[in-house]
């Protein structure tokens, strides 16, 4: 007899039995938010010991423990050893500049596209260089960001050099001092694109499962994080962090912060808004630029990242665009927040993580030729992967997320041939091929009668 609908937190008892792997998987993590939720929903068990299949770690664990332990071939951790080359503000800029110089030396036209970060200097080291440049832009505002802190802490804006005189004179920040806290100083983007007079930035998620070949999955959805006060270029407002910094941690302190919506838009809302005002071409171009910006950041660290078959990383990219639709990268997070302040937020993050775990594929369900899993599109695997050529968009970013899995007929995406000469991919050939037509999440295609509610996994059997 049919069961009444089960609650959404029940483990997946209704999975199709075509999944050949019935062994138990173990995870280890200290996080207790969407990460924990997503892992539990897979039916995995938690462990404190070393028998884990997947360890969702903190960056400190990576730098302190990872090098000293031996991992079995099937164990996975969620960071690359030197992720800070991408995720620390000063190192990211250093790598971007270096890569651009390299492209210029090779006279590669791509070098011109590497203009998606504002003028940046690392302090205290580049202080003299910064001052030279500062004089050329007398009307600009500048933003100071400590490289080691997160959530907007320690960030401030200034216009006059004397405003940072105090900072500079503090002996901790002496260039000679090895322990000086490193800052980046950037030319502030003072003409951000505004919606209803408010500034926002965009958080996008990219999953990298290998740097050799560079394999990047980009999630179609993301967030726009709005500031709660109307934007103004007036110098008097420079101290108002709620206007200029869109981090949720800062916004939460604002009086007008709305905890129900969290001041966030989905990427689809942004897309609809832009399409209504500017049409398809402009919107598509913008989203394409955002995708390319993410890829270019990854290209610039590709050769120095310590690739390891045990590693994958889910990055949170923070982007912004100005009123002429020029895209800038603000920073890259190796450990994007997986806490949620609304139900929709939680659903998106759990879904995101579940898709990511599907792609990491410890259970061995993927065939290896998928180009989309859940909301993630494969956008690069040694070579760029373009969306379906008959689609009206040049990128899938911002598009709807259908329920089925998409497999490519392109050989380059399959497991047998690759763009590069990866050692890590040998293991794919040995994995069990148990993919079923039903799709990795066990949901029937749209149109079949009695479709189960995708979120709660309710399914009736008659």
């Amino acid at each position: 007899m049919s069961k009444p609908p089960t609650s959404s937190s029940a483990p997946q008892q209704n999975k199709p039995s075509s999944a050949s792997s019935t062994r138990v998987f173990y995870f280890r993590t200290t996080f207790r938010n969407a990460i924990y939720e997503a892992l539990k929903r897979r039916g995995w068990k938690e462990t404190d010991g070393d028998n884990w299949d997947l360890h969702w770690t903190e960056r400190e664990w990576m730098s302190e423990v990872f090098d000293s332990i031996h991992l079995s071939p099937t164990q996975r951790v969620n960071h690359f050893r030197n992720q800070r080359e991408l995720c620390r503000k000063d190192l990211m800029v250093k790598n971007l500049k270096r890569h651009k110089r390299q492209l210029q030396k090779e006279q590669n036209a791509e070098a011109d596209a590497y203009s998606f970060w504002p003028l940046t200097y690392v302090l205290p080291g580049d202080y003299a260089l910064f001052v030279e440049e500062y004089k050329r832009y007398p009307t600009s505002f500048w933003i100071m960001k400590p490289v080691g802190r997160a959530q907007g802490k320690g960030i401030f804006l200034f216009k006059q050099l004397k405003e940072i005189a105090k900072w500079k004179s503090d002996s901790r920040y002496n260039a000679e001092n090895k322990d000086a806290e490193t800052y980046v100083v950037q030319r502030y983007i003072s003409n951000p694109y505004l919606v209803a007079g408010r500034k926002f930035d965009i958080r996008l998620y990219a999953l990298v499962t290998s740097y050799n070949p560079l394999t990047v999955w980009l999630h179609r959805s993301g967030f726009c994080r709005f500031s709660s006060t109307r934007y103004s270029n007036d110098a008097k407002t420079m101290q108002d962090t709620t206007m200029h910094l869109t981090n949720v941690a800062i916004q939460k302190k604002s009086e007008t912060y709305d905890s129900e919506t969290g001041g966030k838009w989905s990427l689809r809302d942004l897309k609809l808004y832009l399409m209504s005002r500017y049409g398809v071409a402009v919107t598509d171009r913008l989203f394409y630029d955002m995708e390319m910006t993410i890829l270019r950041c990854l290209f610039s660290v590709q050769n120095i990242m310590m690739n390891d078959k045990h590693c994958f990383e889910l990055y949170g990219f923070d982007l912004i665009f100005d009123d002429s639709f020029k895209v800038y990268v603000i920073e890259v997070n190796a450990s994007p927040s997986m806490s949620a302040n609304t139900k929709e937020d939680m659903d998106l993050k759990v879904g995101l993580l579940s898709n990511a775990f599907d792609i990491v594929d410890l259970e061995g369900k993927l065939q290896g030729n998928e180009t989309r899993v859940g909301g993630f599109d494969l956008v690069h695997k040694g070579i760029p992967i373009k969306p379906n050529s008959t689609s009206q968009y040049t990128t899938n970013l911002g598009c709807d997320i259908p329920d089925d899995i998409v497999r490519s007929t392109e050989k380059s995406v399959g497991s047998t041939t690759n763009g590069g000469t990866p050692k890590a991919d040998d293991e794919k050939g040995k994995r069990d091929r148990s993919g079923s037509k039903v799709g990795i999440t066990g949901r029937p295609a749209f149109g079949a009668g009695g479709r189960s509610d995708s979120r709660s996994g309710r399914k009736t059997s008659t």
């Binding site: 049919s2 069961k3 009444p4 609908p5 919606v195 209803a196 408010r198 709005f226 709305d258 129900e260 919506t261 001041g263 966030k264 838009w265 989905s266 689809r268 809302d269 609809l272 808004y273 399409m275 209504s276 005002r277 500017y278 049409g279 398809v280 609304t342 139900k343 929709e344 379906n388 008959t390 689609s391 009206q392 598009c399 709807d400 259908p402 749209f446 149109g447 009668g449 009695g450 479709r451 189960s452 509610d453 995708s454 309710r458 009736t460 008659t462």
Partner: protein
């Protein structure tokens, strides 16, 4: 690929292939004669003709070209079309006694509630607000309207067995059945390509390009019935602002005159405050919009629009139905004011009708005039107690009749767990699905409402959702389970057009 099925005219999605003729009746011609806009236009035309060639006699050709130059042709054509439509729509049957009674009761109860809230606050409806006590509550919401309608009894002089036993609407109203709907909404047939289905399929770029090209031509024509025909197949986001404008017969450019008008409304709202009424509109906006995932950036704009709307007497004069009544108040200087001037009293969720437009239009002004146009043609029908075909009660009964016809077992099962299907679907219909669907889907639905100039798809979609969830619903054993399944949040995943197609043309999906 193959757009022409045997029983459909070629290129059905190209409305320029349709012929729209208006045979002027004498009544129409006299309306035209009386129209002030037309008078002004003809004067203008005359002046222009005389100025251009004072001595040579004027031919039909020169007249035509002068009209075209002045941009009068589309305006007059649309005017004639609108007048002919409203003539057609004019109510011909008198209202049922019970319904009239219910409408009067409803208006009275709104009036009473409003005054009671005023006295709770210790203020009069207009005048200085010196009270510290800011306590306020909604005067009514969807549930109250639903109760008012549920209470209407079946006409006593009819054989009781002819009255519907299963639904909540007791009135014996004739509703369109499946075959009538299939004919009326024949454009929705899956053999036609639609925005809401086809733009995400493989091979879609040709379809999208075609739609875009046709849409641009449709806009050049700027003729109401052609734009409406176009809208029935769904509108690309970039063309939606303009297509809606034509479908609602709004001015081509929002020039100084419209700008001034809107400014004056906002001024009126600033100058004299309606104590409880304004606060309720503001509260509605603050609570609903600020908490909305999609519309929170526009809370200020929407608040401005709703307050301006309340001061606009145009609404009271030009809406197809007067949903509520204004309260007549005599000011201290002897002047009489209607509160609010629009004749539309605030209720919980009213701003939902405005919100989606904030993602379509850039300017507050355009949001305002589009919303006003939609309210006066469509949303007023959702808020009036009338037995007219196409108004709320009729739509509710259509829903019940459809669900009973499509899935009687489900209907009975729901009754057996003490759930009246209408109790769930009512707010969907009343608020035109604004509280259910994801924004893009909602706009695709509204494209069809505007295109057909009809709200009948609201009950059709409601019944379609029930039948779509039928298998899961049949397994429920309590009212709470039913409510959980049909929870408004679950609507965020609904795809409107495939659902409507599956419901109306189910034989295509076997």
């Amino acid at each position: 690929m193959d757009q022409s099925a045997p029983h459909h005219p070629p290129h059905p999605s190209n409305p320029l292939n349709h012929h729209h003729t208006v045979t002027p009746s004498s009544a129409l011609l006299s309306s035209l004669h009386l129209d002030p806009f037309l008078h002004l236009s003809l004067l203008h035309l005359k002046k222009n003709l005389i100025a251009s060639s004072p001595t040579t006699p004027h031919t039909v050709e020169s007249l035509k070209s002068a009209m075209l130059e002045l941009g009068l042709t589309p305006k007059i054509r649309n005017l004639a079309y609108s007048l002919s439509c409203s003539e057609r729509d004019r109510k011909s049957t008198p209202e049922i006694l019970q319904v009239e009674q219910a409408r009067d009761d409803w208006r009275q109860s709104i009036y009473d509630e409003l005054l009671s809230v005023c006295s709770e606050r210790g203020v009069s409806i207009v005048g200085p607000d010196t009270q510290q006590n800011k306590k306020i509550r909604y005067i009514f919401d969807s549930e109250d309207l639903f109760d008012a309608i549920k209470r209407i009894p079946c006409s006593s002089n009819l054989n009781a067995s002819l009255c519907h036993n299963y639904g909540l609407i007791k009135l014996r109203l004739s509703t369109p059945d499946h075959s009538v709907l299939r004919t009326k909404f024949s454009e929705l047939h899956p053999c036609n390509r639609h925005y809401g289905v086809d733009e995400i399929m493989t091979g879609s770029s040709k379809f999208i390009q075609h739609r875009q090209e046709v849409g641009v031509k449709v806009l050049q024509e700027s003729y109401v019935p052609i734009s409406r025909q176009y809208a029935r197949y769904g509108i690309p986001a970039s063309l939606r602002p303009e297509i809606y404008r034509v479908c609602l017969n709004l001015p081509r450019t929002f020039g100084a005159k419209e700008g001034e008008y809107y400014k004056s409304l906002r001024e009126k709202a600033r100058a004299i405050k309606y104590n409880v009424v304004d606060e309720l509109f503001e509260m509605d906006s603050q609570t609903i919009i600020s908490n909305s995932m999609s519309f929170f950036p526009f809370v200020e704009n929407i608040t401005n629009v709703v307050l301006a709307f309340s001061r606009d007497s145009w609404v009271a004069q030009n809406s197809t139905y007067a949903a509520h009544e204004s309260i007549k108040y005599e000011m201290s200087d002897g002047t009489n004011v209607s509160i609010p001037s629009s004749g539309v009293q605030p209720f919980k969720g009213f701003v939902n009708y405005i919100a989606p437009l904030s993602l379509v239009y850039e300017d507050e002004e355009r949001i305002y005039f589009t919303f006003r146009g939609m309210y006066s043609r469509l949303w007023c029908k959702l808020n009036v107690i009338s037995s007219d075909s196409g108004a709320l009660i009729h739509l509710c009964k259509t829903f019940e009749d459809l669900l009973l016809a499509w899935d009687p077992a489900l209907f009975m099962h729901l009754l057996s767990v003490n759930v009246d299907p209408l109790s769930i679907a009512f707010s969907w219909i009343h608020l035109a699905f604004t509280n259910v669907l994801e924004t893009e889907q909602l706009l695709l639905l509204w494209d069809r409402l505007v295109g057909y100039d009809d709200l009948l798809l609201l009950p059709v979609l409601s019944a379609a959702i029930f039948t779509f969830r039928s298998e899961t619903l049949m397994c429920t054993s309590s009212a709470q389970e039913v409510k959980d399944i049909l929870d408004n949040n679950s609507g965020r995943r609904i795809k409107v057009i495939p659902l409507l197609q599956a419901a109306l043309f189910r034989e295509c999906f076997k």
